[in-house]
């Protein structure tokens, strides 16, 4: 398994270079270094000299990919792409265009993002799987039918509706929890209870339907019939045997997102005033801050690759037949 992981990590290097290249290309198709300077310096009273000074100070006065004026390897290394990409592979993200340390900013924002995403993930998973198993237990009954109708209805409603409706109902009308905000430490629960509940409810419809499909496929297998034939209760059949054997498709969708929980949720964090990472990339795109954009895309890619490797490892844990070679 160790060799497999090392091989996968080595595969990740060209993937990350490719992602970096694409991010760089896309960003500079839309924004030129002059645009970035203007965004930082403001449109009011900014002079061409000030723009040149800003670019020179931050290394944006070089060519993008190829420096014809440089000699030897400098033609490649004395470029914006090379200079801005190399340190990132050592996880040195440098400073944002406003001068603030990106790694520090990420560390500050990661906590609130996790405080929201982790309970949402765990409770959402538990609620969806439980609901799906209940539907499977009552399959082909009116409970199953109305349960599926409920799922379809829930997944058809925009998450924005859940958020605004939830805030209005629970925080404004019933005055039970704060509408938005955040507090560090244990006091955070007051601010998290509503966004977590809303996120779980908003996600349960589609997830439960997906898990129900997986479980229904599983309950028609021979080993389930055998389990029933030897007199096991339906509860034991579902929770002990079906759930365990349905783990592979569940893990495929679930484990890969675990590392990405660090990245936060844009919509929920925005509406509930949670100072997480969710909006960091969007804010950076709006501010044309390439340093932050490439750092966030890079971190996202790394976490996604880690998620895929973890998914593969998790297969070996739930299915002894799987071997990573």
């Amino acid at each position: 398994m160790f060799a497999y992981i090392v091989r996968r990590l080595l595969y990740a290097v060209p993937i990350l270079i490719g992602v970096n290249l694409v991010t760089f290309g896309l960003f500079f198709v839309v924004n030129s270094p002059d645009d970035m300077a203007r965004m930082q310096l403001g449109v009011k009273r900014v002079t061409p000299e000030a723009i040149e000074r800003w670019k020179a100070e931050r290394g944006y006065d070089r060519p993008l990919f190829f420096n014809a004026k440089a000699a030897g390897s400098g033609q490649v290394t004395d470029t914006i792409f090379f200079q801005k990409s190399l340190r990132m592979f050592a996880f040195d993200f440098g400073r944002a265009d406003d001068g603030r340390d990106i790694a520090q900013e990420m560390r500050d924002r990661m906590g609130p993002s996790l405080a929201l995403a982790l309970p949402t993930f765990v409770m959402g998973l538990f609620a969806s799987i439980s609901f799906a198993l209940i539907l499977v237990f009552f399959r082909a009954s009116y409970l199953d039918f109305w349960g599926v109708v409920l799922c379809v209805a829930m997944m058809s409603i925009s998450s924005l509706f859940y958020i605004i409706g939830g805030q209005w109902l629970v925080s404004k009308l019933w005055a039970l929890v704060p509408i938005s905000g955040y507090a560090p430490g244990l006091d955070a629960w007051r601010f998290l209870v509503l966004p977590v509940a809303i996120s779980v409810i908003a996600g349960v419809g589609s997830n439960a339907r997906w898990y129900r499909t997986i479980f229904l496929e599983e309950v028609s297998r021979d080993y389930v019939r055998t389990a029933r034939a030897k007199g096991l209760s339906e509860r034991v059949v579902l929770f002990r045997h079906v759930l365990k054997n349905a783990m592979i498709p569940i893990l495929t969708g679930v484990v890969v997102v675990i590392p990405l929980l660090f990245m936060g949720s844009l919509l929920v964090e925005s509406f509930f005033g949670i100072p997480g990472l969710g909006s960091y990339t969007i804010d950076a795109i709006n501010a044309q801050d390439f340093a932050v954009v490439r750092a966030m895309v890079f971190i996202g890619s790394v976490l996604y690759i880690v998620g895929l490797i973890l998914t593969d490892i998790s297969y070996t844990l739930v299915d002894p037949r799987v071997r990573l070679e």
Partner: protein, 723 residues
């Protein structure tokens, strides 16, 4: 079973009786404290006073720093009064031969203007580690090592703080910072035109910055034209006459910064921890930044070393009746702390204001109908719901303008080089100015929150005339005591005279197509475009929206490739020069990289502008402005759009609040009636818990048949009977 459910629900039913508020977003420790609560949407980009140039940053910066001058809080028109200066600066003007000139001397004779500024003695800086000293007088944190900074995240993590008296040298130090090549002050070029010594200093600093990547000691450099006279006096010598310089002296660009702060923040390891002057300001103002988490909240706390300042005893007509003079002579600031919470979305912001958790709020389009009602006479009043909550509405016309610019470099709208072409183009611009009904635009798209602009100068600024004398005679006529927009017939006639009868080129018969260059907007953008297209259709002109991203739009403007465009300008200071320069030839965007995006050039206007800009306010200046305005109205390089009207709501417990965009150091004047706020919050936010009980009952009701079904199935035998 029923008894068990009742027992479970009992605490829920009893909880409201406790009377506590559950949805309070602030820590319990803050309850009853003398704290003002506000919100911000965009995180401030810069808090360094040489860099900051936006309104969101001003909200914080103007409370922390004390420039030499400030605007009187209550007087209108805006009046400058001393801030950290002991008195208004003494201004002496000299000719080429060094002879002193009288104040009435024309600007053309003035070779240099000398501003001597005497500051208040005894003013102290806020407590700050940069000013902490050891017993021997040396700076406590001037030579920090990497290990000294372990665990340090903010200035509050340093064990010791210190202060010292404000000196004239601190003002000079800040002026030097304007030229710092790493700080990119947005006003450097503008000020350097009048203070050429800044350019000399910048060259020297740039050389040093190239050699030295660390802290640059500005004390080793001098800025020609700026000198310390004595401990409490400094002198600035400007090239020529620039009376508007006094307004710049009311901005943080000229606020004092102690050299110790630059030295402190310039140490290795500081910037990596976001310990910079751009993040942690140090000032002498009434407040200091106690918490800086721009993702969540920023807190301004009372500066314990603030000298204290008396609340003004004079104001404009109506201020006394409005209770704005009740605190006359009392020592400010009144509020101990101001907490700003970041609210990215308008809905939670608005709801929290209605719950009493924000003391004031703006009025956005989303909540306009809930907040405000229009009377049949077109007047704006608060809605019944707002009145019932004791909310008050404050309105004021902002010193800003939003206009539709015509790029006169465009052949169709500018007419090219020939006089005949230019005359035709002018008539075309006049026709469009009449056809685009800005009154309707304001009514439809701004809910009436704007005043039609007759020329570039907003109401309340010297030079803006009211009544019949103030109308744009090309677009309006004065009828029955009010301005009436000229008819579309007049526009059509002008269009025909321009060579486009019924919107077609008289020579070729081709339809006239005009393009609006813009950036894609959000909701309502399509509606605005449709409305504009309809207005042009009335003239028979085809209208095309050319939407591009922001960067390409800016490129088009810079290169002169745009045809028509919407632009705006927020006045830096209340002087007509700061509005009329937007159409000065020397500011042409394409040729001079200036602010004149229409690229309009009129030699007479330019000559009058040069004359007007250094004249003192008075009938003579008004006459020059009147002529300039008349030229603009005839030439119509813009459709003079509208001056936005700021609507602000405040709860009844907020006292001494007066709107006025120029006055930005407003927090020290405001007071909170804490008892009233606490009572209102408790009344408006009583938790309602019965829905939780109902929810539990519903869950039980939903699960019960499932449970029964489960039990029945588990007990069933293979043949269908019960086991």
């Amino acid at each position: 079973m029923f008894r068990r459910i009742c027992l479970l629900l009992l605490p829920c039913l009893l909880l409201p009786a406790c009377g506590s508020v559950w949805n309070d977003p602030y820590p319990a420790a803050e309850q009853g404290q003398n704290i003002m609560y506000s919100a911000f949407t965009d995180r401030p980009k810069h808090l360094d006073p040489v860099q900051s140039y936006s309104e969101d940053e001003a909200t914080f910066l103007y409370q922390i720093y004390e420039p030499p001058l400030q605007y009187h809080y209550l007087k209108r028109p805006y009046t400058l009064v001393p801030g950290s200066a002991a008195a208004m600066p003494e201004v002496r003007r000299y000719d080429d031969a060094g002879r002193e000139l009288p104040a009435t001397a024309p600007a053309s004779q003035v070779a240099k203007s000398v501003y001597e500024i005497r500051i208040r003695p005894g003013v102290l800086y806020q407590p700050h580690p940069a000013l902490a000293r050891r017993a021997d007088g040396t700076l406590r944190y001037a030579e920090l090592r990497a290990e000294d900074l372990k665990g340090v995240r903010g200035v509050g993590d340093f064990a010791e703080t210190g202060t010292r008296e404000l000196e004239a040298g601190d003002f000079v130090h800040q002026i030097k910072r304007l030229a710092h090549p790493r700080l990119h002050s947005p006003i450097f070029e503008l000020i350097a035109d009048y203070l050429p010594g800044l350019k000399t200093l910048q060259s020297a600093l740039a050389e040093e910055a190239a050699r030295n990547s660390g802290w640059i000691d500005l004390e080793r450099h001098a800025v020609p034209g700026v000198e310390v006279v004595d401990r409490y006096t400094y002198r600035i010598t400007l090239k020529g006459a620039y009376p508007q310089f006094l307004y710049w002296l009311s901005m943080p660009f000229f606020a004092p910064v102690p050299p110790e702060a630059d030295r402190f923040y310039g140490q290795p390891g500081m910037a990596e921890r976001n310990l910079t002057l751009d993040w942690w300001p140090i000032g002498t103002g009434p407040y200091m930044l106690a918490e800086n988490n721009p993702n969540a909240r920023m807190v301004l706390a009372r500066n314990p070393n603030f000298r204290g300042e008396a609340y003004p005893c004079e104001g404009e007509h109506g201020d006394r009746e409005a209770g704005l003079l009740d605190d006359c002579g009392k020592t400010m600031p009144f509020v101990d702390e101001v907490v700003f919470t970041r609210e990215r979305e308008g809905i939670p912001y608005w709801n929290k204001f209605l719950q009493g958790y924000y003391d004031a709020s703006g009025v956005s389009s989303d909540n306009f109908d809930q907040a405000v009602t229009m009377t049949s006479q077109g007047d704006v009043t608060l809605s019944d719901e707002m009145r019932a909550q004791g909310i008050r509405l404050l309105t004021s016309v902002s010193p800003s303008i939003f206009y539709l610019g015509f790029n006169v470099l465009d052949n169709v709208l500018g007419g090219g080089e020939s006089a005949e072409g230019q005359t035709r183009a002018r008539k075309l611009r006049q026709a469009i100015s009449i056809a685009l009904d800005m009154d309707e635009f304001i009514s439809i798209f701004l809910n009436g929150r704007g005043v039609v602009a007759m020329h570039p100068i907003p109401p309340g600024i010297f030079g803006a005339r009211e009544g019949e004398a103030g109308i744009n005679p090309v677009v309006y006529e004065w009828r029955d005591g009010r301005p009436v927009r000229r008819s579309r017939e007049v526009a059509r006639r002008l269009l025909a005279e321009a060579g486009y009868p019924d919107g077609r080129d008289a020579k070729t018969g081709e339809p006239l197509i005009l393009n609006l260059d813009t950036t894609p907007g959000g909701l309502g953008d399509k509606a605005r475009s449709d409305w504009l297209a309809k207005q042009f259709r009335e003239l028979g002109v085809q209208f095309v929206v050319r939407a591009t991203d922001y960067n390409r739009f800016q490129d088009k403007i810079r290169e002169g490739n745009a045809q028509m465009f919407f632009f705006g300008w927020n006045a830096d200071y209340p002087d007509p020069e700061n509005m009329l320069f937007l159409l000065h030839g020397a500011q042409a965007k394409v040729k001079e990289s200036g602010q004149n995006a229409a690229n309009y050039v009129n030699p007479e206007y330019d000559r009058l502008f040069e004359k007007m800009k250094s004249m003192p306010d008075g009938p003579e200046r008004q006459a020059v402005i009147d002529r300039m305005v008349a030229i603009l109205q005839q030439d119509a390089p813009w459709i003079f759009g509208f001056h936005p009207k700021a609507y602000s709501l405040q709860h009844a417990w907020v006292l001494n609040r007066k709107t006025g965009s120029m006055v930005r150091n407003t927090l020290k004047y405001q007071r909170i009636d804490l008892g009233r706020r606490d009572a209102a919050r408790a009344q408006w936010n009583r938790p309602i818990v019965w829905p939780l009980g109902l929810l539990a009952v519903l869950v039980v009701a939903a699960l019960a048949p499932a449970f029964v079904h489960y039990r029945r199935r588990e007990r069933a035998t293979a043949v269908g009977g019960r086991g």
